[in-house]
């Protein structure tokens, strides 16, 4: 009997090799995942720490064995807090890097611009932007938002103002997709509590002085001025408000009242400044992990991007496919109330591999989403600047 390689077998083997080789190569090939962050521009105070957290959680997942036997390959782009730059960077992530998800878009204007690029290419988009309009876009389930929408924020803000005893407020807002909606929703909620909105000025944030805008606000004699601003313009507004002689409370989103903005201004200018922010869960293991990564108390966005990368990894494992579609189909399944509670991606991946359903609760809190991708329920924290330092008033 003659053994050995026949010419036919060799030929067949040769034909089969190219078919086998790519699948072998793919097994070890990293799963590309993207972050699109405000490393520069008005959101520049948050982008770098978000990038650090995304990198750390990717490394943790890879050290734990990756997703479906493959490591995650992280691609980070800067959106410059600018929609044009955001769209260019999103195209690069999707068309060149072929990412399965884009995580971390921050400014609502950027997210609004980037969203169609994502849903048209069926790429998942995880965002921390608040504008109501974002999840109302026809995104076919390709947007997940870990930040409470601006409607929810406006209600809480109006309730807080009323509880502080203010009977009237005036609003100064940067030009954003949510500025007008927030004012309208606040006005309606505030009216229910017997308060009155005295007016709203939407200003051009690229200016270096807002004296005229502030003079109009102060002339209306409000009990409180609401500053729907970003960090660079907040500093100028607070200065102009002080100069105009207003001594009442000023209230602003926490993302504008960064410690650096407060430190950059004299104490009399910042004292009495109130701020609010959707609060991560400070008691959760995920929050503590983000705190370890950053070495300081984490901001809400760093906590949320920790959850974005974790949710993407878990949903792919749950769907048994390293694709955007698997994330799309399974991102709600990894928050199964009846599942094993997990607080980090590595533990979650192990539980899924062992065949368990999981209930992921991360650094920003429980990650449960409604049908259009909005987070369900969220705590808020309120802070007051005293003697140049921001101090916690309450979390509720």
């Amino acid at each position: 009997m003659k053994h050995g390689l026949t010419r036919r077998a060799a030929l067949l083997g040769g034909l089969a090799l190219p078919a086998v080789a790519p699948s072998l190569a793919r097994a070890a090939e990293p799963i590309p995942i993207g972050t699109l962050l405000p490393l520069t521009g008005a959101g520049g105070a948050y982008g770098p720490s978000m990038a650090k957290v995304a990198k750390a959680v990717t490394d943790e997942i890879n050290a734990g064995g990756g997703v479906l036997g493959r490591p995650l390959g992280l691609f980070t782009e800067d959106d410059e807090t600018n929609p044009d730059s955001g769209v260019k960077a999103a195209h690069k992530l999707i068309d060149i890097n072929h990412v399965v998800a884009i995580c971390g878009t921050w400014a609502s204007a950027v997210t609004t611009a980037v969203a169609p690029v994502c849903w048209q290419s069926k790429t998942m988009l995880f965002t921390v932007s608040g504008a109501d309009s974002i999840t109302k876009l026809p995104h076919h389930g390709y947007i997940i938002r870990t930040q409470p929408n601006s409607h929810l924020q406006a209600l809480r803000v109006a309730d807080f103002i009323a509880a502080r005893g203010a009977k009237s407020f005036f609003s100064l807002s940067a030009q954003t997709p949510f500025a007008h909606d927030v004012y309208t929703q606040m006005t309606a909620e505030f009216a229910k509590k017997g308060g009155k909105a005295l007016g709203d000025i939407i200003y051009d944030a690229s200016k270096t002085s807002f004296r005229t805008e502030v003079e109009k606000a102060v002339a209306a004699k409000p009990d409180l001025i609401f500053l729907n601003a970003y960090a660079p313009d907040l500093g100028i507004l607070l200065r102009n408000i002080y100069q105009a002689g207003f001594s009442g409370p000023r209230f602003t989103p926490g993302y504008a009242a960064t410690p650096k903005v407060i430190a950059s201004l004299p104490k009399p200018v910042t004292d009495g400044l109130l701020s609010y922010a959707p609060s991560p869960d400070p008691g959760s293991p995920g929050y503590k992990r983000v705190k370890e990564i950053l070495g300081v108390e984490p901001d809400p966005y760093s906590c949320q991007v920790y959850d974005h990368v974790s949710l993407a990894a878990l949903a792919m494992a749950q769907g048994k496919a390293a694709t955007s579609q698997a994330i799309h189909d399974n991102v709600r399944a990894v928050g199964d109330e009846k599942g094993v509670p997990v607080t980090d991606a590595v533990a979650g991946l192990k539980a899924i591999a062992a065949g368990h359903a999981i209930n992921y609760s991360g650094a920003s809190g429980p990650c449960k989403f409604d049908a259009i991708g909005d987070i369900l329920g969220c705590k808020f924290r309120f802070d007051l600047v005293k003697n140049g330092k921001s101090t916690l008033l309450s979390i509720s």
């Binding site: 770098p48 939407i202 270096t208 005229t212 003079e215 950059s264």
Partner: protein
């Protein structure tokens, strides 16, 4: 009526500060015949130079303006020596100076990122108290704004004295008026170009710090005012220093007065509409003479 008077006062004070970088822009145009948009970057680096002197070295804010001038001037000469002069030299006679102008936009981005690399993105403030406004009848005026305007006027006066009464200033004017004749007379165009660039960079740096006094300091400081600076220089007539001053006041007052009739969000657009009107009537700008 009071609102109108207040808008004019606010506009004049804003215009005085805007005039300083606008003069810087137009000076470079007068002597070197190109639009140097890197003035925005010089303003930003100048503002940071003054900030280092003010906060790290403890120099009071007004004397620290010297640091702003030095940082702006050095940055301007460095950018010009490294890139822009070479590009200008390669221009054919009569060719529009497009390449150096575009390169100057790139230089602005570079300088902005140098500031970001050295000082980070976070806003910074000078060690300077903030005062409540003074009320003169129904009008409110900020002491800091008045001081800024006074400093701007002193800087402008110093520039006029330099141009009128020093040898370097006169050679600069000679090159600006007629570069060919100046070369025939043996004036070293490169040297004069450097002096003009340094002077303009120093003024831009000073302007950047003055803007920072009333706002806060971040890497986008210069970029934010660049459009208004360019508008002021164009309205006044590119290359004309009195024109830049007039243009800055027109842009400053125009933008403020616009807020009386339209939403403040549109004030930049209204300012530019005013520019279109001026340029439609006088294409060379108010003080322009060379058909620029």
């Amino acid at each position: 009526m009071i609102a109108l008077a207040q808008a004019i006062v606010n506009g004049l004070l804003a215009g005085a500060t805007l005039a300083v970088p606008a003069i810087a822009f137009t000076t470079i145009f007068a002597v070197l015949r190109f639009a140097n948009f890197a003035v925005a970057g010089f303003a930003t680096l100048g503002a940071y130079g003054g900030w280092v002197e003010n906060t790290a070295l403890g120099v009071p804010a007004v004397p620290a303006l010297a640091g702003a001038c030095l940082a702006g001037g050095v940055a301007a000469v460095a950018v010009d020596d490294a890139a822009l002069r070479g590009l200008r030299r390669r221009l054919r006679p009569g060719e529009a100076a497009l390449a150096p102008a575009i390169a100057s936009v790139a230089a602005t981005l570079l300088l902005e990122n140098v500031a970001r690399f050295l000082f980070g993105n976070d806003p910074r403030g000078y060690n300077l108290p903030v005062y409540r406004d003074w009320h003169l009848g129904a009008l409110a005026v900020g002491p800091q704004q008045l001081a800024d305007a006074a400093i701007a006027l002193v800087a402008m006066a110093a520039l006029f004295l330099f141009l009128g009464f020093t040898r370097a200033g006169r050679t600069m004017r000679a090159v600006a008026d007629n570069p060919g004749l100046a070369a025939l007379k043996g004036i070293d165009a490169v040297r004069v170009g450097r002096i003009a660039t340094f002077a303009a960079g120093a003024l831009a740096g000073l302007g950047g710090m003055l803007i920072g006094f009333d706002t806060s300091l971040d890497p986008l400081l210069g970029f934010r005012v660049m459009l208004s600076v360019f508008a002021a220089a164009v309205v006044g007539g590119l290359g004309s220093i009195p024109g830049a001053v007039a243009g800055a006041f027109i842009v400053g007052v125009g933008e403020e007065m616009a807020t009386l009739v339209v939403d403040p969000a549109y004030r930049t657009a209204v300012g530019f509409a005013a520019i279109l009107v001026v340029l439609s009537l006088r294409p060379a700008g108010l003080f322009g003479v060379r058909g620029t």
